[in-house]
Structures are given as structure tokens and as C-alpha cells.
Symmetry: C2
Subunit: 318 residues, 2 copies
Amino acid sequence: MTRDPATLLAEAVAGSRAALARLITYVESGGANQREVVASAYRAAPPYVVGLTGPPGAGKSTLTDQLIATALAHGALGAVRLEEVGVLCVDPSSPFTGGAILGDRVRMQDHATDERVYIRSLATRGHLGGLSLAVPDAVRVLGAVGFPVVFVETVGVGQMEVDIASAADTTIVVTNPGWGDAMQANKAGLLEVADIFVINKADRAGLAETRRDLEQMLDLGAVREPRPPIVATVASTGEGTEELWDAIVDHHDLLLGDGVLAHRQRQARADLDRVLAVAVRARVGALAGRPAYDEQVALLVAGATDPYRAAEALLSEP
Amino acid sequence: MTRDPATLLAEAVAGSRAALARLITYVESGGANQREVVASAYRAAPPYVVGLTGPPGAGKSTLTDQLIATALAHGALGAVRLEEVGVLCVDPSSPFTGGAILGDRVRMQDHATDERVYIRSLATRGHLGGLSLAVPDAVRVLGAVGFPVVFVETVGVGQMEVDIASAADTTIVVTNPGWGDAMQANKAGLLEVADIFVINKADRAGLAETRRDLEQMLDLGAVREPRPPIVATVASTGEGTEELWDAIVDHHDLLLGDGVLAHRQRQARADLDRVLAVAVRARVGALAGRPAYDEQVALLVAGATDPYRAAEALLSEP
């Protein structure tokens, strides 16, 4: 198989899953081909991205399974026909795979052999911006290949996941009954990213308390309009999946309410700000290697300057 | 009372708590006097900072109470005599106070009238870098006034708290029995900041399981050397406080093991990097207001560029 990005993209559009897999590997690896793949991928319209995030064991994989089936059964999301679904899985905290959770996918038995579904675990193998850029890039590759809707499943609810969630159009935070402490600990992050809250495994004890905790959290901290709905699901039986799909459709319709162009502009700003943030962090990192940086550290240790004056001195250097 | 920073600092060094309170208010407010206070404060040697972080209800205030008593009873930390202790309290997630948790301090009854203890809640009232810079600045004010050790108590375990923890020399993460889910959800953040883990309220059910969960987390993700110790405490009775103090002393001795100068250089680098990151973020924020930014967004929406090329174009602008 050829390794040329342009040829691979044409093959992937024609249906080659092997070509698609290689394109995403290019995006992950951050090598010379990454920029060429990205340049092509961003020429096409972006897919609609539904993000699912939550701690390990919340049942995200099973829930995604159910959502894939529901999405394909409905066959449309708003004005977009939905004949294929892409799924990206991310575990930034895994020390073993550097991000991939391949083992987890064996649970997605319903769709493992379904040609309408493409499932891929993402790792970072050198991408400058790590997963917070590799994920949106891979999403755009799927869009360019013809997937109108992409699900992104992310393990955890920390800063990395907040970054990844910024690439999703609709973000679903998955919790379980009895998770008051975990939610409390992540309050700020949860409120920042959640468009929809799901209480999965809702047949377990503690559903009412967890719903009450979430409602309280929204009462105290809600800055989002409209208020994120809370949907109870039992992913293992499919209970609540239709209600969740309805909530996704509602949020999609809301986002597109002021037109496709306005939505695309918001996406473009989010894409640009993400890359700018990474580029700027790289610049701060580069400063630390310069003699002028060591000079300022020596002045700080001697009590001859303060960090604000030191930073100004460094940033005003040519 | 005069409002001139230099005079206030002299008064605070002479023992005026009112002058000290005003200096810290200057640091919080980010106004014209902030820079002058900071310039003076960083001339003095930094205090040794012990950070305590964890979700609300973990018992941090009671634990800090016990640590204050223990620290003053020992009267020294390494080579430093310890006749006074400063305490800064931060709650970045509070929507009511914008950071302050004054109400919580009524629990610190043991030390409310103790002249050897200065307790202050911090809020952000305009500081450019928010609490992630206001906290280290306030710490240095306490150092310049003569406090050799400062405890910083932070509610939560998100990114903001990680930033604040980077200003501490020894960071203690406070958990409770039964917090497997909460810890799992914050794994990456916890491992990044914790020098010592405390399982407080250790007389409750679930101590063994929580200790096992923490050990597992350290087994899988430990990048720190040495491995952070896990100390069980019952802050309400004082059980385990001596052991915790010993762990703090051990970590202090470890940090100072390669000499005061090497330690001061590490602190100076951390101080400088924190301010650089904020300054550079402010520059990116300023980019978003410029016509060139809107032009790049329009090109992105049209599929005529990708976010990497757009960011390069913006950052290479004069």
C-alpha cells in the first residue's frame, strides 16, 4: 500500500479502511506526513462530534454501543443523513498504551463487524499538542473521508479531557449512582464541559441522590444556557438510550439554531485557539533553554528581581 | 493607617497584623500597589510552603489545625526555627466568594486567638494570573514579614489546584476512606502534585480499601521518586498527626538534600515559569481581538487553511 497522504485520502474516501487507519496513524505520529494529512482534512466540512467522557468503569463503551445503534436506526441527525458512524477512543491517563484502550473495544461486540461503523483507539506518538490536538485532527480526517457523525469517548474528567471536549459539539458526561464525591472533586471541570449529564447504571442504588447532587451542582454553578439535561440510562439493557439520543438531537438543533455558518465559525475559533495555546506553550518551553532564562533565575535566587520583571525581561528579548 | 507598601511592610515586619492584611489585599487586587509589594516581597528569602489539597469535607481545616499545633510544639523545621506559622486558605471553585472560605475558618478555634498564627482566606479580585499567581505572591509576602513556614490549604484537585500546588514545597493530598471513584477520576492530577497522601477520618469504614487503591495508583503511575508515603489520620482526635509531621520533615530534608541554593533555583524556575505561562496566555488572548484573527477564522470556515497554518500566520505577525 502506498504511503502518500493524497492517494491514501482518495482510497479512504473510496472505502478503504486500511487507508483510513494509516491516515489516522499519520495524525497521531506527528511526523512529516501529519501536516499534509491535516491540510487536506481541514479542506472538507467538519463532522458533527458527540463526546462522551467519564471515569473508567462508568459504562461509556456500552453506552456508545447503544448510541451507535440508535443513531444508525434513526438514519439522520438534523439535516445530515447518517449511514456511517466513526468512533474514536482515548485514554490519556493510561500509562501502558500512552492513550489507547484497545482492550476495551472487545466489549463493542455489536458493531465490531459492522461495516457502517469505524472504531479506532487513539494514542499520542509524537504529536506536538498531544491528544488535545491529535483528537480534533483525527476527527477531521474522519469527516474528510465521509463520516457525518463521530463519537469521541474519553476516559477521565481532568484538564486533558476538558481540552478534548472543546473539540466536541455535544459533550456527554457519564456518571453512575453513588458518585457524589467524584463529582464534587471535579465540579469545575464537569460544569465546564457538560452539555448533557448521563447517570448510567441507573438500576443501581443511589440514583435519586446522584440526580439531586447533580441538580444542586447545576443550581450553584450553572453558567450554561440552557441548563444541561440529566438522563438516566441502563446501557446494558438499552434503557434510556432513546431519551439520550433525543437530548443529543435537541442540543444539535440548538447549536445549529443560528445557522451552519455561525456554528462553523465557533468551531474554527475553538480549533485555532487550541493550536495557538499549544504553540505558545512550546514558546515558553523554548525560553527555558536560553542563557537569558538562567540569568533571570540567578537574579531571582539573589532577590534582585521578581518573577514579573523577570518574565517581562525574557518576553521583550528579540 | 498609611497605604504606602514600603511603610506597610516595615510595620508588618514589626508585628502589625493590620499592615500584613493590607499587603495581602494589595497582592489579591492586582492594582498599582501589587507590583511594588511583590518587588519588595521577593527580595526576602522564601518561606517553606506546605500545601494541603483535597475536595470539600475531607477535613483539611481540622488537619491544618493539628499541624499548626504540632509544628509550633516542635519549634523547628530542619534548620529553620519555627515560632510563627502562616496559613492561606483558597477555594477557587466557590461561586459565592470568588475564592474565600472565611466561614470555614471558624472551625480553626484552637488558633483563632493565637498570636503565633496568622490565618487568611485568599480571593482573586483582579490579579492578572488569578489565584495561581496571587497565592505564591501572598506566600512571599508572609515570608518577607518573617513567617518561616506557610501552610496553603486549597479546596479541590483540578488544574487550578495543580498550579497552586506548584508553589508548595511539600504538597499533601487529603483523601477519606471510600474515595476510590473520586481518586480514580483525578488520578493524573493527584499523581502530579502529591508528595504525601493522607487518608483522613481513618476511623471510618473503608480505610484498607482506600489505602490499597492509592497503592495501586502509585504502582501503575508512579513517576515520582521517592514514592509518596500514605499516612492515616483522624484529625478530630489528633491521631496520626505526628506521623504526618514526620513525613513533612522527611520530604523537607529530601528537598534540601542537595543544598539550599539548588532548592532556591528550583523555586525560582517554578515562579518564573508560572508568570511566563500567564503572560503568554494573555498575549494569545489579545490575538483574538485583532482583525488578522478574524481573517484566519474566515479562511478556516472556507476550508482554505488549517489551524496550524492559521496559528503560524498569526504568531509570525509583527
